[in-house]
């Protein structure tokens, strides 16, 4: 099958209907580039969202993330707008739906149709259990009332998965999930709300639903009555990993853009790419991209291998990866200078990518909700780190057991297999400053979390307590990075840079930054080689069709 990259073609070719110029022009009209969705239809992208046993191509989640990358590398609004939300909706049904529901949703998606996922209410944000959209039982049916807002594809979805309050009582059993066939609901009691104008991801069709005492069949219920929160939070474990992974494509494209610029542009009598600061910035962004890739890869593989730990790993990944990516895009923009600010010209795509990256991270799982998922679990998890994770969680080519969504847990057990590997890996590495810093930070985290008072483990947590989740996430990234390099050795010293950057984030140091020019030069050389030979910048070195300028 022709790859998506090849179908999309060279983004820098001005005449390419799916190149940056066309995408930026479409963005100006708050639209997707004409023909972009047809490419995905033709590719049968929806099949990637449907488990193989239901006729689709979804087997391994890390592979799904890699397959989505070309789309987000091209246009984040295309990735989200075409249908990652269909995948999010699907997860709930694959996990909790009846055989009939699973079959019918799979068929719908395999026919190329869209499904909306309706969690969000503007007044409630990430506070799921306060959701007000309600489904009331009346005989054989459920009566829907209320609104869901900022929902993707409402104007063209055939069905929607809706998160509804089904009990007035507070607590985790007060909501249920419904799969509603929008084509068959009473049109007088249901309305698709007009599209929201957005400042980023402008091509996405975000709207809403409103129901006015609209009856739907009892069989719309996904899973048990009152199981909505449980199903949603377990589905999030997969979607959080996938959405974090989607951002990798954006940074990959941004890194290419700035590399391309730095090689062509001359300043002070030499190419920008010869200036040490520019070289350090490019190499640093590359190291961060690989760190993020290692974390996403590990977290997605953990869904298969360590499913009972996935709630923490997915939350940490969704929390940290967008921060790493956004910071990297920011420092790259400094090299690009004024061109990142222009909505026209060769590098307009970079500014658009930079603008679209942060909203990609909001979704239905903003950073604080990820932190609040991790926080209450950390003391128990870190008391004893326990057995290290199996090598297969890092070894990218090792076969994975089938994804079993029912093994995902709301609360992870004691022990932290990934951090346990970090301890081993740090002990085996040469004792550089970064290794010492990370070792000390790990010890400190373990000691600190053991003594955290209960009041610091919920929404009322002190800022310092909430900050512990960031330190945990950074150490998890270090575990992923060291583990990845150990089981999939790369020839470049990327890990050295990755570690020193993670160490700096964890522990500020008054020492002047070390000169890491040798490692930076090696990473930059790798970047240039990949760019010249047509390979992407993530670990899998996927084939890309983008040209450096002449």
């Amino acid at each position: 099958m022709t790859s998506l990259e090849e179908r999309f073609g060279d983004p820098y070719q001005a005449s390419n209907p799916l190149g940056h110029a066309a995408i930026v022009a479409a963005d100006e009209r708050a639209d997707l580039a004409a023909g972009a969705e047809a490419v995905l239809d033709d590719f049968g992208l929806n099949a990637e969202f449907v488990p193989r046993e239901l006729g689709g191509r979804l087997v391994e989640v890390d592979a799904l993330v890699r397959r989505l990358r070309p789309i987000f590398r091209r246009d984040a609004a295309l990735g989200l707008g075409y249908g990652v939300t269909s995948f999010m909706a699907g997860l709930n049904v694959w996990l909790g739906g009846s055989d009939v529901q699973r079959k019918s949703l799979a068929d719908l998606l395999l026919r190329g149709r869209k499904v909306s996922v309706g969690y969000h209410e503007l007044a409630r944000g990430n506070d799921l259990t306060a959701n007000e959209f309600a489904a009331r039982r009346a005989g054989e049916s459920l009566v829907l009332r209320g609104r869901k807002e900022v929902i993707n594809n409402v104007d063209r979805a055939d069905a929607a998965v809706l998160f509804a309050r089904t009990s007035d009582r507070p607590g985790g059993r007060s909501h249920s999930l419904l799969l509603v066939d929008l084509e068959s609901v009473d049109p007088d009691r249901f309305r698709r709300l007009p599209r929201f104008r957005t400042l980023g991801l402008r091509g996405c069709r975000l709207g809403g639903f409103e129901f006015y005492d609209c009856a739907v069949a009892d069989s719309s219920l996904v899973g048990d009555f009152g199981a909505g929160t449980d199903l949603a939070l377990r589905s999030f474990q997969v979607s959080r990993c996938v959405m974090a992974g989607a951002g990798l494509g954006v940074l990959d494209a941004g890194l290419f853009a700035v590399l391309r610029f730095a090689l062509a542009r001359r300043l002070y009598g030499q190419p920008v790419a010869a200036l040490p600061h520019a070289r350090a910035t490019l190499a640093g962004a590359f190291a961060d991209l690989l760190t993020a890739d290692a974390l996403v890869t590990t977290a997605t593989r953990a869904l298969h291998l360590l499913p009972d730990s996935a709630s923490v790993y997915a939350a940490a990944t969704k929390y940290l990866v967008p921060l790493l990516l956004e910071d990297a895009m920011n420092s790259l923009s400094v090299i690009l200078g004024a061109r990142f600010y222009l909505r026209e010209g060769e590098y307009a795509g970079f500014g658009k990518h930079m603008r679209d990256l942060p909203p990609l991270a909001i979704g239905h799982a903003g950073s604080v909700s990820c932190q609040l998922t991790m926080l209450p679990q950390l003391p128990r998890r870190l008391r004893e780190l326990g057995e290290p994770a199996p090598a297969a969680v890092f070894a990218a080519s090792a076969p994975l057991p089938a994804l079993d969504l029912t093994k995902l847990r709301l609360l992870a057990p004691a022990g932290d297999p990934l951090l346990a590997t970090l301890r081993e890996n740090l002990a085996a590495l040469p004792g550089t400053g970064a290794v010492r810093t990370l070792t000390a930070a790990l010890d400190d985290l373990v000691t600190h979390t053991a003594g955290m008072p209960a009041r610091d483990l919920g929404v009322q947590a002190s800022p310092a307590a909430l900050g512990v989740t960031e330190r945990y996430s950074l150490l998890l990234a270090a575990a992923a990075a060291t583990g990845y390099q150990r089981h999939n050795p790369e020839g470049t010293p990327w890990l050295q840079l990755a570690m020193s950057r993670l160490a700096r984030r964890l522990t500020p140091s008054p020492a002047p930054p070390a000169d890491e020019r040798e490692a930076e030069d090696a990473l930059l050389a790798d970047l240039v080689t990949r760019a010249e030979q047509g390979f992407g910048f993530c670990f899998d070195r996927d084939r890309v069709y983008r040209t450096l300028s002449n």
Partner: protein
Amino acid sequence: MKYAAFDMAERLEQVLGDPADPESVFSYARCADLDDADEFPADICRILDDFGLQRRYIPVEFGGELADYQDCVQMMRMIARRDVTVAVAHGKTYLGAVSAWVGGSSEQSARLAETITAGIPVSWSLTEQAHGSDLLAGEVTAHALPGANPPAYRLNGEKWLINNATRGGALCVLARTREAGGPRGFSVFLVDKATLSPDAYSHVPKLHTHGIRGADISGIRFSDAVVGAEGLLGAEGTGLETVLKGLQLTRTLCCALSLGAGDHALAVATRFALKRELYGHKLADLPAARHKLATAYADHLLTEAFSVVGSRAIQTLTGEMSILAAAIKYLAPTRTEAMITQLRRLLGARSLLRDVHEHGSFGKVERDHRIVSLFDGNTLVNLNALINLFPILLRAADNATAPDEEGLRQCTDLAVQLPPTRHDRLSLLPRKGSSFLLGLPEAVAELTRLAGTDDGLAGLASSAGALRDALEDLYRAMRTQPSTPLNVPAPCFVLAQRLAACLGGAAILQLWLRNRDAALAHDTATTPLWRNGVWAQLALDRLLGELGVPHPAPESAYHTAFEVLHHQVSSGQLPSLFSVPLAEARS
């Protein structure tokens, strides 16, 4: 605490009216619409003209009303807090004119003053498409016309990404007057479009930008445009020097844009947090969210304090502006960008939506403000400028050069009426080092003495001591760097960032020391910030973190800051160290 420099700003506020009132011309609603349409805010600029704002761009000695740069900064801030686009569009005239104030003759300046007074925008044409910040590579040429009497020049070439290039009636243009170029190979020409023949120039159409979408960011192409000798500012070959001196002023004044953007972002986020219910609580009552707001406010106060000091230094420590301007132009925009990013995460989905929360103005101010770290020398240019000063600063420190005590006092004692600006004292190098850095040990000693009799100051004194030690460490690290390397090693940029942080910290201490008595003399809403050096300690907390020697301020200081912020935002006051009622306070 009241600060007289805000008087004019308050008057301007009253003229402009409540920006939240969609009926007012200069409202958030209207600015959002203009932004959608990429439309220049012409009618809003006219209101500012009617107010006579442009006369504030003209120094008093040339017949204008610019007597205190601080007035100008705070007025521009009031405009930027409503819409950075308007501030950029109108304030550009000062940037356009500064070459004349710095390098022109009295006649030239007086002539330009008339142009400005008439409401004609003036533009500054420095950059070119192929060279960006590398001014020495500029290819626009000015050739002396052989045998012309009186002498005249012929301009050729294109200037690109120029604010108001199209709408401006006059421009100051940096052009190559010596084939070989070099530091003495460029000159600045004041070009009045009205005197050019129509075929001697054309405009590069407006470029579409991510932020300040309505601004006239365009270009101008000269083809044999003849400019008389009266257009040459200063002697031939002085162009680069004039521009670099002018940039010392404009880079410092750019802080007004960051302050205004920060004012707005903070206010939007605070209002949101005060209303928003989440997990059964008001968002603003959740400790982590409250801390995030207080931290943002600490950053904002830091930027404000450094900006006040920096812009007062134009008139009091004029010869030190090379270092101050670079440090402020680095610190103010990057701090503000980081602050807005943090606040955006608090806002969540609303930061993405155009019509749901306050006209989408949070997302707009984030986009708009990003221009500030780009123009007038971007972040790297300013850090480079600081790196170039390492040797001279080390020499001053090694020689224990005495700080300019009188300059420091005039600069930081806000009760002091500023002396007139002496543009002739601007210097490309701070020959005697930086008085703020040289005066830091004595400031710390003074604080330590105060803390000896006042326990409440122990925290600030300890942070100040850490700052002094950090500066010593920084000097040590600077000494290990090669002097004037061809290609600056990457770690040098981190040292330059730390230098900016030390300078900012030193300025903050001076500002607090010289004004604490006045601030505590009358009880106002901002008094809790000044008592026990709360704001200074918070600001140092932020800076010491960046210096790698964390000295967290106590949670009680953050709590105090949040309470003041809460009060200021809910009562229509500026989020500031000073008591400044905004137009909102009256509605």
